[in-house]
């Protein structure tokens, strides 16, 4: 039978092949048609390419929608709530700029950013198909009224009318436009630099007829973290980076990136929202053992002694998860906070609690008020202090704890929402009036300049965004990330601002931990890196070695003076080898008055034990030889800081402070000038400064301030009084001019700052008693800052002239940050964290 069937099969196959051979054209035609149809379907339903990348933490939220969306009720509602007609913006643009009304984008992304302005700025992204994009480009190129400028090798067009300017560019079939040129440039940087502060993974592909709402929850997550009463996952802190909401007429879905939303339960990644308008927030998380403080331990033992209450028994009766609900409450001042503990052993929990509260019965119907003890704090791993009173109820093997007597219908609603449901109801801010309004208000101000309240509701098929932009201006300064550029290696010590001698633009130069020198432009482009093999001992200077108004970079390493030109090439004759029996510490490039030759004053110490080692000063010319007229000078102690060159009464004077407190002034031949040295016998290790009256100030480690004039006369010797031993004293020269200074004392966590006359300026409480590095910046009225860098904690803070934190929270940085004043009132902060260089700006 088998043989027969096989023969039949082969016969049939043979017949088919024969037939196909007879009708081969038809067969090929059909196959081609099928292939074509398949290709068309593939093309038609091809996934839409991501067209937009969020601009880091500045993003408030973004709305992404298909322009051909039939049901635009949601967009209408959002427009109504925002008071901004963003969906018709394209039509206006088409009419005004392109002079075309029929061209339409396929997809739009409208994003609101908080940077660069006090009110949110809008960035529009319109994506076209290939043909439309050609038409748009042609229309733009034919417009002679548009101004064009280059940025990052891309053309930025500017359209101006009587009311405002609109800036835009067209890249990869996407036209991006904004009224804010800074925001537009930032978007271009993000596109070209591939900088991803918010991971692109979370920007999910939008389906046709869909609406995507992308909310930056970094700020909100921190608000949540900071709020007392919001539980955290003990093992993996909730770090919401971005929430991507995709809504259509049926449902709204939320997507988190696995990387950014680190929770134990991965089912939270994709959860349909429950539609309970009262439920603001709920989460289920593992119940871990509470950290019991000493006081609590004492209290527990007292409870055990008096009442026989054993919290360990109680814990054994609880299952290993609990759910935390926050509900909208009719009480203006506080929301309902409800904790639900499923019980393993209901009777054990009941009997244990009955020892304390005999009036609470199992399966009671109403919540009972108890005052002692603060049960949530005994059971939970975190402290909840939003529970002044506790109501509890044991019902259906669940222990309910609430801060109010929860009405029956609310309890029913909660029960209906299964305890196993893991969902998050998102709200952005504090439009809802409840207990932590104040806290949220403060936090809100930190994150949003002008947003007094913002909330996101989901009801039926609609999304409601409720934003109030009428708030007061923040008391905190805002620094938004302008650039965050990964570096291959960690930055060593600090970043030096340098000048581009062609454009006068600012650039950043630094050395990494492998001694490589890096130059980066102000806009974040790496210009070069150069292996130099030696670490700079002192700062990196800019010098004009060839006297042709072109600047080079020079620094001293252990045994060499190095110089590199603007392109990173080693200069002829460099590195200059230094004397062998000499440990270079400081370099001061100098040029005598009315002389063209660049010289290098190198200060260092002679090897030997610390007690006997003296200091030495060499002056080299640019050819590597010792400069004529200057015999290497020995001084009795190493220098405390880099020497300085000043001009006094038409003469060049080199000033040097030694570690033993002696102050020297040398003439250009290296001779000690009349009147010097001034010997103070103090231990000095910080820099001195020369004020506008040409008086010299320095401070000893013990807090003695010395003032002398250029004749070597002692003008003032004053001890800064401190009642606490171990006080760290700082003399803080103003970083811009170096002519003024403040005096600071760190006494543990207390930072006392005084002015130059030792009158109290302000007192600030630090977060730790680690020795802090301080820098004082004066950028003018209301722009005086004290930069506080904690090297151990790798954090920095900015204090204003009242000693208040200018930033809402400390910034993470591994190096002493650099503060730069730009035109107007803009201030940039350059720092380094996680192997990246970050430039933050207040964008003013």
């Amino acid at each position: 039978m088998d043989k027969l069937s096989k023969r039949l099969d082969s016969d049939i196959l043979r017949k088919i092949i024969l037939k196909a051979k007879q009708h081969q054209y038809y067969v090929f035609g059909c196959a081609a048609l099928l292939l074509g149809l398949f290709g068309y379907f593939m093309w038609f339903y091809q996934p839409l390419k991501p067209i937009w990348k969020p601009i880091g933490p500045n993003l408030l939220f973004a709305l992404r929608y298909d322009t051909g969306l039939k049901d635009s009720a949601i967009i209408d509602q959002i427009e109504q709530l925002l008071g901004e007609d963003f969906s018709s913006k394209w039509e206006d643009f088409g009419k005004a700029v392109l002079k075309k009304e029929d061209v339409k984008p396929q997809e739009s992304v409208v994003s609101w950013h908080t940077a660069y302005s006090e009110s949110p700025q809008v960035l529009y992204n319109w994506r076209f198909n290939e043909k439309t994009s050609r038409d748009v480009l042609l229309a733009i190129q034919n417009q002679s009224s548009l101004k064009i400028r280059q940025y990052r090798e891309e053309k930025i067009y500017q359209y101006s009318n009587a009311i405002s300017d609109l800036h835009f560019y067209l890249i990869n079939r996407v036209l991006t436009a904004s009224t804010s040129p800074l925001l537009l440039e930032a978007s271009l940087r993000v596109l070209t630099n591939d900088v991803e502060n918010v991971q692109p993974k979370v920007v999910k592909q939008l389906k046709k007829d869909g609406i995507g709402l992308i909310i930056n929850l970094n700020a909100i997550a921190e608000a949540f973290d900071a709020l007392v009463g919001f539980p955290k996952h003990a093992n993996s802190p909730v770090r919401l980076s971005a929430l991507n909401l995709v809504a259509n007429s049926k449902k709204i879905q939320a997507f988190y990136s696995e990387n950014t939303f680190a929770v134990n339960d991965k089912s939270i990644r994709q959860t349909a929202f429950t539609k309970k308008s009262d439920l603001l927030y709920n989460t289920t998380q593992p119940l871990e053992k509470a950290q019991v403080s000493k006081e609590t331990k004492q209290r527990l033992s007292l409870l055990k002694e008096r009442f026989g209450f054993d919290v360990d028994n109680l814990r054994q009766g609880l299952s290993n998860t609990f759910t935390h609900f926050i509900l909208r409450s009719e009480y203006v001042l506080q929301p309902y906070q409800v904790l639900a503990f499923p019980l393993k052993d209901s009777s054990m929990v009941s009997s244990e609690l009955a020892r304390l509260h005999p009036n609470v019965l199992p399966n009671a119907k109403v919540f009972t008020l108890i005052k002692q003890p603060a049960l949530p704090n005994l059971i939970l791993p975190m402290k909840l202090d939003a529970f002044p009173n506790i109501y509890y109820l044991i019902q259906d093997s669940v222990l309910w704890l609430s801060n109010f007597s929860l009405p029956q219908q609310k309890l029913k609603a909660l029960k209906a929402a299964s305890l196993s449901t893991k969902g998050i109801k998102v709200y952005i801010n504090h439009a809802l009036k409840f207990s932590f309004t104040d806290k949220l208000g403060t936090l809100g101000e930190r994150f949003f300049d002008k947003i007094d309240g913002a909330a996101l509701y989901f009801q039926r098929d609609s999304v409601f965004i409720d934003i109030d932009l009428q708030g007061d201006k923040s008391v905190f300064g805002r620094l938004d990330t302008l650039l965050a550029i990964p570096t291959k290696r960690q930055i060593k010590k600090q970043v030096f601002p340098v000048k581009n001698h062609y454009t006068n633009a600012l650039e950043f130069l630094w050395q990494d931990e492998k001694t490589r020198l890096h130059l980066m432009s102000d806009s974040g482009e790496f210009l070069w890196e150069k292996a130099v093999w030696y670490f700079a001992k002192d700062r990196i200077h800019q010098v004009d070695i060839y006297n042709n108004e072109k600047l080079q970079y020079a620094f001293v390493s252990d045994g060499r003076i190095h110089a590199y030109d603007r392109l990173g090439r080693t200069l002829n004759g460099f590195p200059i080898g230094l004397s062998t029996y000499f440990e270079a510490q400081f370099l001061r490039p100098l040029r005598w008055k009315n002389e063209k030759e660049q010289r290098f004053l190198v200060a260092g110490s002679l090897p030997g034990n610390a007690k006997n080692s003296g200091g030495k000063l060499y002056l080299y010319n640019r050819y590597g030889g010792l400069s004529r007229g200057w015999a290497p000078r020995n001084v009795e102690a190493p220098l405390a800081c880099a020497p300085k060159l000043i001009s006094h009464e038409g003469k060049d004077v080199i000033l040097a402070l030694l570690k033993n407190g002696s102050f020297y002034a040398f003439d250009k031949n290296g001779r000690v000038m009349p009147g010097f040295p001034l010997i103070t016998n103090l231990i000095c290790s910080s820099a001195f400064l020369v004020d506008r009256a040409r008086n010299i100030h320095f401070m000893s480690e013990g807090g003695t301030i010395i003032e002398l004039d250029l004749q070597g006369r002692l003008l003032k010797r004053e001890q800064v009084r401190s009642r606490i031993t171990g006080t760290i004293f700082h003399l803080l020269p103003e970083q811009q001019s170096g002519a003024d200074f403040l005096v600071a004392m760190q006494q543990g966590r207390r930072l006392v700052v005084k002015d130059r006359n030792l009158k109290a300026y302000f007192t600030h409480t630090l977060t730790s008693d680690n020795p802090q590095q301080l820098a004082y910046y004066d950028f003018g009225e209301d722009k005086k800052f004290l930069l506080v860098f904690d090297e151990r904690d790798n954090t920095c803070r900015l204090l204003n002239e009242k000693g208040k934190d200018w930033l809402a929270k400390p910034l993470a940085t591994q190096i002493m940050p650099l503060l730069i004043a730009r035109n107007g009132s803009r201030i940039d902060l350059v720092l380094s964290k996680d192997n990246s260089i970050t430039v933050l700006s207040n964008g003013e």
């Binding site: 001084v635 009795e636 030694l658 010097f676 010997i679 016998n681």
Partner: protein, 150 residues
């Protein structure tokens, strides 16, 4: 026949004549006291002038009974000061610690006093050559004897 009369050393004679002329007397003084071996401060009293000079008497030659030798020491201190380009070199030449406040005071004192000494005695009065003095040769021997012999 051997000539037993001592050789004439004009510098020593000038010194001796100057002592006689100005009736110079010398005393030890503790106005400036550097804790260094051989360092002394000498008060030189003339008829109507007095000078206080810190100096190095490394051979312990100073003696109030030997004013010519004392004058030589004073003038040697002036030379040391004048030859040193600056404070650091002076300290190094004399083996002082530059961070010693008293050394600085001595230097500053010499800076004021040396021009006065020079103005008082004029250019003709000079110390015996340092080399000879250190070797104890030639004029030094006469210098050490000249006050004793008279």
């Amino acid at each position: 026949m051997e000539n037993n009369t001592p050789k004439k050393y004009s510098k020593v004679e000038v010194l001796k004549a100057t002592v006689d002329k100005h009736q110079l007397t010398f005393k030890l003084n503790d106005a400036i006291n550097i804790n260094a071996e051989g360092f002394i401060t000498v008060k030189m009293q003339a008829a109507d002038h007095q000078f206080i000079i810190p100096l190095m008497d490394e051979f312990g030659d100073f003696d109030v009974q030997k004013p010519t030798l004392a004058l030589h020491l004073v003038l040697l201190a002036c030379e040391d000061f004048e030859e040193a380009e600056d404070y650091l070199i002076w300290c190094k030449a004399l083996g002082f610690n530059a961070s010693n406040e008293t050394c600085r005071a001595a230097w500053f004192h010499l800076r004021d006093e040396v021009p006065n000494v020079r103005a008082f005695f004029g250019d003709q009065v000079q110390a015996v050559d340092v080399f000879n003095y250190q070797m104890g040769a030639g004029a030094t021997q006469l210098l050490r004897q000249i006050d004793a012999t008279q």
